[in-house]
Amino acid sequence: MIEIKKLTKQADNKLILRGVDLSIKQGETVAILGPNGAGKSTLLKVLATLIKPTSGHVKINGLNLKKDHIKVKKLFGYLPHSSLLYDHYTPLENLLFFGELYGVKDVENRARQLVKEVGLSFFINEPVKNFSRGMIQRIAIARAIIHEPKIMLLDEPHTGLDQGAITILNNVVLSMKEKGCTTLMVTHDFKQAAEICDRIIIVKNGKIADDFSINNKSLGLVSEKYEALVEGVL
């Protein structure tokens, strides 16, 4: 599904990514962990076509990231830290706009159904600017999946969310997984990572330091490995 070969990214004489090799199969739920400044977000942004890599190849579903960027962009849903929503628009208008950009069929129904799914039907005609962080994040999730993406790219999705929103987010990820959707998430939250992911990648200094599978939601294994790799060096 996703093939990354020798990916490097340089900014301001600093190598942020120093040769990342990674291959992710369809249907996997992968969490990317690592200390601040390790290059996790950059890796995700390269996959989201926001940042151009300095060198290396990325293939998604056999499509070249550079050449077929329009086809690739249709494949993934991107949920960064900021909401990507227009403040003075209502949830419905926001979803309609992005749905139209992605060429979703029957946008109106799809948008209404999504707003219902994230539990905000009551606020469907309120401008987004009056919402709390949790509510905004729910709409942002709906925005990211409006075109039924094959790949989800999540950048610290759990930060600043209340328990209800976390449950909704986890449910969305799990139900997408059942449909065969691949998920990649950058996170600091080990608990959530262990909860929903079946593969953990630890990034350190722009390189992949460890790559292992987990099952049974074993939080212990994750923090043990992480501490050994990241904190053990300090």
């Binding site: 942004k45 989201a48 076509t49 926001l50 940042i51 151009k52 329009i70 086809k71 962009k73 249709k74 993934f76 991107y78 960064p80 900021s82 909401s83 990507l84 929503l85 227009y86 403040d87 003075h88 628009y89 208008e93 706009f97 992005f98 139209e100 950009l101 992605y102 060429g103 925005r143």
Partner: protein, 224 residues
């Protein structure tokens, strides 16, 4: 590509209709420029008529620059520009959409402000209104095309509202020279029409060259 651009333009205009922030500011600003002009040039004096064709463009340029800066900076809130960039379309669609929204906005300002100016200064048009509209259209096209592009460029800076005029005014000087000359001829002295048309052709050539150039280069500007 065109469909995506249209969606973006629709979004911008719709959100403008909802907040009425930018358009309202632009029109009030245009009115204030007219007021200042009336202080600078005595409206009762007959020689003042000579500066009216130039005043039309002073109003358009100064109120236009307010809207241009706003249209790109507003996409930085909640990083919505990233949302547009990850959507399946070319970067040039974003440019085209923004251009269409800005262009329709400046046309509305012109429709309101220009008759107002003529009325307040008691200016009688001795030429062809049709040609005048053509000049307004061609001139605003060039000004907004390059303006949208440079606003996208300047929006990367924290002080974009200061940077934009510095970039935009020298760059559009051929358009401004061309349209002020053409407007002067068309509004006061129709006998020289061929030379006004020559000016129009120059501005149109500028429009085409820079529209194409901006189209090709916008990808490098919007890259994160």
């Amino acid at each position: 590509m065109f469909r995506a651009a249209l969606t973006i333009a629709k979004k911008d205009i719709y959100s403008e209709l909802r907040t009425k922030q930018v358009l309202g500011t632009m029109i009030i600003f245009a009115g204030l420029v007219i007021l200042v002009l009336s202080f600078a040039f005595d409206p009762a004096n007959n020689t003042t008529k000579a500066v009216i064709p130039g005043a039309v463009w002073i109003i358009i340029v100064f109120s236009g620059i307010l809207g241009l800066n706003r249209s790109l900076v507003s996409e930085q809130r909640n990083d919505t520009m990233h949302g547009l960039l990850v959507a399946p379309m070319e970067a040039s669609s974003i440019y085209l959409g923004k251009f269409m929204a800005n262009f329709s906005m400046i046309l509305i300002v012109e429709i309101v402000a220009v008759p107002f100016l003529f009325l307040l200064f008691d200016f009688k048009v001795n030429g062809s209104i049709l040609y005048f509209i053509l000049v307004l259209f061609v001139g605003s096209f060039g000004f907004i095309a390059i303006g949208t592009f440079l606003a996208a460029l300047a929006s990367n800076s924290k002080s974009s509202e200061m940077l934009l005029p510095l970039l935009l005014f020298p760059m559009t000087s051929p358009v401004l020279i061309g349209v002020t000359q053409a407007t002067k001829i068309i509004l006061t002295n129709m006998e020289k029409l061929p030379s006004a048309i020559a000016w129009l052709q120059l501005v149109a050539a500028y429009d085409v060259i820079f529209f194409v150039l901006c189209f090709l280069l916008i990808e490098y500007v919007l890259e994160v």
